[in-house]
């Protein structure tokens, strides 16, 4: 039930983001969600794509420092308080969210949130039996097409 996320090291200089996303475009990689966190000198680009294995292979071949990690994707209603409820559910179980980013899917009428936690299994367990749904890799892409 986990989602493969790609993390990419990007130096803060003009054109780098264009170069990196260009590699993905050339290989027909579809980006579903992204987040960039940055410091003064560099950033880390995090992506959810349709074909993470190919994406990683192409990025590595281009000499780009990148990796794949498993993260959770949850589906929540696109309404006030929903995200807060989800986070509270996790924190009640002592699960710390290291970072998260969200995107809305008009077709599904829901918001998807990518969350990165230390222990995916514990987080999945914590969400079991709640109204918060875990979303799989295929699901994210099926619903957007």
């Amino acid at each position: 039930m986990y989602i493969k996320q790609i993390s990419i090291f990007v130096e803060n200089k003009p054109g780098r983001l264009a170069d990196i996303t260009g590699i993905l475009a050339d290989n027909k990689i579809d980006i579903r969600a992204l987040s960039i966190a940055d410091t003064t000198d560099y950033g880390i680009l995090r992506l959810i794509v349709n074909d993470p294995d190919t994406a990683l292979e192409k990025l590595k071949a281009a000499g780009i420092t990148s990796s794949i990690t498993n993260v959770l994707a949850i589906g929540i209603p696109d309404e006030a308080g929903a995200f807060s409820d989800a986070i509270r559910t996790l924190s009640a179980k002592g699960i710390n969210v290291e970072y998260a980013y969200a995107f809305i899917t008009p077709e599904a009428g829901a918001a998807y949130v990518i969350i990165r936690v230390e222990d995916n299994d514990a987080a999945a367990e914590a969400l079991k039996g709640t109204s918060i749904k875990l979303i799989g890799q295929q699901e994210i892409f099926n619903q957007s097409k």
Partner: protein, 434 residues
Amino acid sequence: MFFQKDIETMPRKQLEELQLERLKWTVDYCARNVPFYTKKLGEAGITGDKIKSLSDIQYIPPTTKADLRDNYPFGMFAQPMKNIVRIHASSGTTGKPTVVGYTKKDLEVWSDCMARLLVAVGTTCEDIVQISFGYGMFTGALGLHYALEKIGCAVVPNSSGNTEKALMYMRDFGTTALVATPTYALYMCETAKELEYPMSDYSRLRLGLFGSEGTTPEMREQLEKGWNIFATDNYGMSELQGPGVSGECEERDGLHFCEDYFLPEIVNPETLETLDAGETGELLVTTLTKEGIPLLRYRTRDITRLNYDVCKCGRTSVRMDKVKGRSDDMLKIRGVNVFPSQIESVLLSIDKIGPHYQLVVRREGFTDTLEVQFELTDSSMLEKFSEIEKLQKNVQHRLQTVLGIQCKVSVVEPKTIERFVGKAKRIIDLRNTK
């Protein structure tokens, strides 16, 4: 003005006789007391007796910084510790510093040499002199300190750092002369302006006694204008004794060697062949009286030229030009010697760092900065920013421990640092480019 006029104006012929006598003594002294030299001179078949003229020095094998490092810490000392009264150290080419020891007599000679050069630029017993070199293992501060006391100056051992306090002392004490690196003196001036201190508060300051790094003509102009002083340079290195090996006089037409204590020569840095008088090459210096750590034909790696004409000031000693460059890749950053090899040994000792790195030296305002860039190749660190930051801090800390200066540490993408076939050019020095 002279501190020891007889020596400073000694006719050249007489000076050379003195040098020859002392060179013979030094050769035998080295052979007798330093196993490194016993072996080296033995192999070359050289004894004091065989030295018939000063030019015979060319048959003595040169000594390098690596020799000092290989004999770390006290292997090059010619005296037992009971006769050593001071130990200093400077940056080595890799992890270990270069260590030097002084006998009581060495310290006397040192302060005499330095005092001569200070008096030659107009320092007197009336002066209040602030020393803004860092005290500690480096030779700069104490070298100046004892010479200034010998002249009878009032010494303010302010050390470096805490610029605002240094400016306060300068103003309140009516400091007349400043000892600093030229870059730090410029930084102090800039700080005073930023704090909107009226420069008239420093009107008693008249003399800049700069060293530890050379002053470029542009810096000299800025220093003289900014502080309204007479800026002078002196030269030395801890291996030879510290500051006071050579220095300017009031004519500021080259740096007078303390030639009765140091014998300079110029060689081709590639072939080590002796060059004719007036040619530019690497400066080699032989100590002529040193007891603690005598050195034969020490390779300074500084590129310069020697001028044997008698100076307008009346001194007969040979003058060296300002150092034009280096025959190795040593950098001077805020007056501190930095060898890229030191940085390399730190970087290579840390996991997760690729072998490719680059050094960028800049002048920001009036301060030299060093940036060390390395490629982030380990993708396992992408999960948390804190991992990368931790690595940067670790590198920074270890570099500071080895180099003694703080530097910026940047991570860059793989393959962004230029690859070299053969000898890598890892240094980008932007200080003298506009």
